[in-house]
């Protein structure tokens, strides 16, 4: 009996040793990479950004784990490790997000957290990740303040901040000879709307020195009814009406302003409107100038990587991918590139947080929306190219096509390192390289 027990124990020891053996050698198929993903699954931003981002993440991770992403991302998962996502909801305010970020790192032991759409959430979670010395990849939020007001080692943003949306938009209008002697604006009364308005007006005053701002409206977030605002805009009859509205608010504004003739009186320019094209369809007035916060969706440039995302996402979800899906894809691919770069340096082991951080700093990688370069904030903030275009409804395909597409290089629409965005715009956008 005793003999048997001892033999049994030896067997267990041996098998445990055998099982742990592959752990010592390069990252094997059993090892996984646990990735926390935070995006809006409920609330006003869910339909427009959160859910497309979640769908994009699921599609990309699924493809990565199968090893069916085109070059240079053909390796399975992250350097051979399968990616295991933990998806949580971004809705509920910054207090909840800070708590959930801690839970992801400390309770669920995720290797990296990736996500966040709201600027307020990004500002709140960044210092927490830094304190916990854990890697955090911000994928979408707009405010330039994150890296302009603080320095982080463990925090990265894989998308350009909102400055390029408005600088690029004004450059596009100038390139297309849009007349803008008078300007009216309608933006939501919260940080995104206020900041976008400030950037656009500042950039417009640089390229259109004689522009006069007429009606400047700030309805509250989620207002939904714009009757009085549209009356004011129609009454002003400015050459251009600018708006950074998004989601349901933008749809409501477009639906309510078209019958009142606003698009006929004024040139409408929307800084971030591609995501409302599928739901609006023929209700979107032709000739509206729109941006997508990158060269995304119908404005994306042809490449094997882009075809893979566009077709694959469309097949999986029944609708073509727009900005949020592109942004999370470029984020995941960037993280994959960083992890694999770190593994090539450490001999193929699963990289530590510090190794991943070192690899991600200053990294450049290809994404479906073009080349992403971590050039600002000491290699922690990305810049990327952006596209703008005009809408034209296509009755055969029953969808809004985008024409007159023009691309702007990343360094043409983003500030150089070490300069605050708004000061760069007001200082005449020094150092911009526009071909």
């Amino acid at each position: 009996m005793d003999h048997f027990r001892r033999a049994n124990r030896a067997l267990i020891v041996a098998s445990v040793a055998a099982m742990s053996l592959p752990m010592a050698i390069p990252a094997s198929a059993q090892e996984t990479f646990k990735l926390g993903i935070v995006t809006f699954l409920s609330g006003p931003a869910a339909d427009s950004f959160g859910v497309p981002a979640r769908n994009g993440a699921q599609f990309v991770i699924d493809q990565l784990n199968k090893g069916s992403v085109p070059s240079p991302y053909e390796k399975v998962g992250f350097g051979g490790m399968k990616v295991e996502p933990v998806i949580i909801d971004e809705n509920g305010g910054a207090t909840k997000q800070v708590q959930e970020l801690r839970n992801l790192y400390q309770r669920d032991n995720v290797d990296v957290v990736l996500g966040y759409i709201s600027s307020g959430d990004c500002l709140a979670v960044a210092p927490i990740a830094e304190e916990l010395k854990k890697m955090l990849v911000l994928m979408d939020c707009g405010t330039p303040r994150i890296f302009e007001e603080a320095k982080y080692n463990y925090v990265f943003r894989t998308a350009a901040h909102a400055t390029m949306d408005n600088v690029g938009l004004v450059r596009y209008m100038k390139a297309k000879n849009i007349k803008m002697d008078t300007l009216s604006a309608i933006n939501q009364d919260y940080a995104w709307g206020q900041d976008s308005r400030a950037d656009f007006v500042a950039a417009a005053q640089q390229l259109y020195p004689n522009v006069k701002v007429q009606t400047d409206l700030l309805p509250k977030f989620g207002a939904g009814q714009y009757g009085t605002e549209i009356s004011a805009l129609v009454g002003a009859g400015s050459d251009v009406v600018y708006s950074s509205l998004w989601g349901g608010d933008l749809q409501a504004f477009v639906l309510q302003s078209a019958p009142r003739g606003l698009p006929k009186r004024s040139q409408l320019v929307f800084s971030a409107a591609d995501h409302v094209l599928p739901p609006l369809g023929d209700k979107m007035p032709d000739g509206t100038i729109i941006g997508a916060r990158g060269s995304y969706g119908l404005m994306s440039q042809k490449s094997p990587l882009n075809d893979w995302l566009f077709r694959g996402y469309e097949a999986a979800n029944g609708v073509y991918p727009v900005q949020a899906a592109y942004r999370i894809t470029q984020s995941i691919l960037g993280l994959k590139a960083a992890v694999e770069k770190a593994m090539s340096k450490n001999g193929g082991k699963k990289p530590s947080t510090d190794e991943m951080v070192a690899a991600m700093t200053g990294l450049e990688w290809l994404s479906p929306g073009g080349l992403i370069q971590m050039k600002l904030a000491d290699g922690h903030q990305a810049i990327q190219p952006i596209a703008f275009s005009r809408t034209k409804y296509n009755p055969d395909l029953k969808r809004v096509d985008l024409i007159d597409i023009q691309y702007f290089a990343a360094e043409c629409v983003n500030p150089p390192p070490g300069v605050k965005s708004i000061e760069w715009i007001k200082g005449g956008m020094q150092g911009a390289k526009c071909n």
């Binding site: 409920s42 305010g93 801690r102 307020g120 500002l123 007001e149």
Partner: protein, 329 residues
């Protein structure tokens, strides 16, 4: 008088809970910090509810405490955790001192709506103030304690946990003593029949004002804790859903036991966190079902689990949070 735990026993209990923090996993520490901070503000609501008035705008004082501490911390570099709590309590208290006497003249739904309106006015002003970061808010540095700074994340979390548990615990003891005092009983009498209280020579308005002030001080201190735990503040602190959540904690707890407030607050945080992890698409539903379940099966709050019988004998049918003020005398 109703018999309860001796204050010394309660102090021992606080010490035990604080020391238990050494053994807890790290993620529970920050969760418990938030739960203790929410419990503190909900305790204020319970204090006020004993006069028959519910404030739906405690977010006002919560935000006042938070913004007060954040601005002082960023301007003068005040990082000490205890000092921040005192500053937060003072900010909340000062505002309560101004608003309390004005609002004490109203009762029931008017009282609730006015508090809600005031907090939303503050919210609107904060969203408009771009110097304070507008709706995105701004960050503050990490707190220290008595000159010690904590770089290890676990130690920093434990420090905050300990400070919040001790402060909230002592606030709980103070509230228990208050509830048993002459003043506390007079507050209950105001809820039952304020006219008779006036005939006794007491000022009902004054009693409500003082209770309101206590609730505001608790809310301000709670705002300081929330700020220290998340190092970020935004106007959401003053938004009505934030205030509503505190009322929820108070409803969950019932107004029979101070300890119930802490249990309810912790339970709510745990349910929220785990439902968000396992059911990211339907976590609100889980939270709602949990609240409904408590309201259906424990209509007098979680506190009724352990003091149901005694209370029933003493004050029959007395305690619903939204109790109306006394009818005709």
């Amino acid at each position: 008088m109703r018999k309860g735990l001796h204050p010394l026993v309660m102090i021992a209990l606080i010490a035990m809970v604080t020391l238990a923090g050494r053994a807890l996993p790290t993620w529970t520490l920050s969760l418990a910090t938030i739960a203790a901070s929410n419990a503190l503000i909900a305790l204020g609501i319970v204090v006020l509810a004993r006069t028959g008035n519910v404030s739906f705008g405690q977010g006002l004082f919560f935000a006042a405490g938070g913004y007060g501490v954040a601005l002082i911390a960023n301007t003068w570099g005040l990082t000490d955790a205890m000092a921040q709590v005192i500053v937060g309590a003072a900010c909340g208290g000062l505002l309560g001192l101004v608003i309390g006497p004005l609002i004490a003249r109203y009762s029931g739904i008017f009282f609730g709506m006015l508090t809600l309106a005031l907090s939303m006015v503050f919210y609107g002003a904060l969203v408009k103030s771009t110097a304070l970061g507008g709706s995105d808010g701004f960050n503050v540095g990490r707190p220290s304690l008595f000159g010690m700074s904590f770089t290890d994340p676990r130690e920093a979390d434990f420090m905050l946990y300990a400070v919040s548990v001790i402060v909230t615990g002592f606030a709980g003891i103070a509230a228990t003593i208050l509830f048993r005092s002459e003043f506390g009983l007079a507050s209950l009498a105001v809820r039952e029949n304020n006219l008779r209280v006036e005939y006794l020579g007491l000022s009902a308005n004054r009693i409500i004002s003082i209770n309101f002030l206590i609730a505001a001080i608790f809310a301000g201190a709670s705002g300081a804790f929330a700020l220290m735990a998340q190092r970020h503040i935004d106007p959401q602190f003053a938004y009505w859903t934030t205030s509503g959540e505190f009322v929820f904690v108070a409803v969950l707890a019932g107004n029979q036991s101070v300890a119930a407030v802490f249990v309810a607050s912790m339970a709510l945080e745990l349910v929220r966190s785990f439902s968000n992890l396992y059911l990211p698409n339907t976590w609100q539903l889980v939270l709602g079902v949990f609240l409904l379940g408590v309201i259906l099966f424990l209509p007098r709050g979680i506190g009724s689990l352990w003091i149901r019988d005694r209370r029933k004998r003493r004050i029959p049918a007395a305690a619903t949070l939204t109790a109306e003020r006394g009818a005709a005398p």
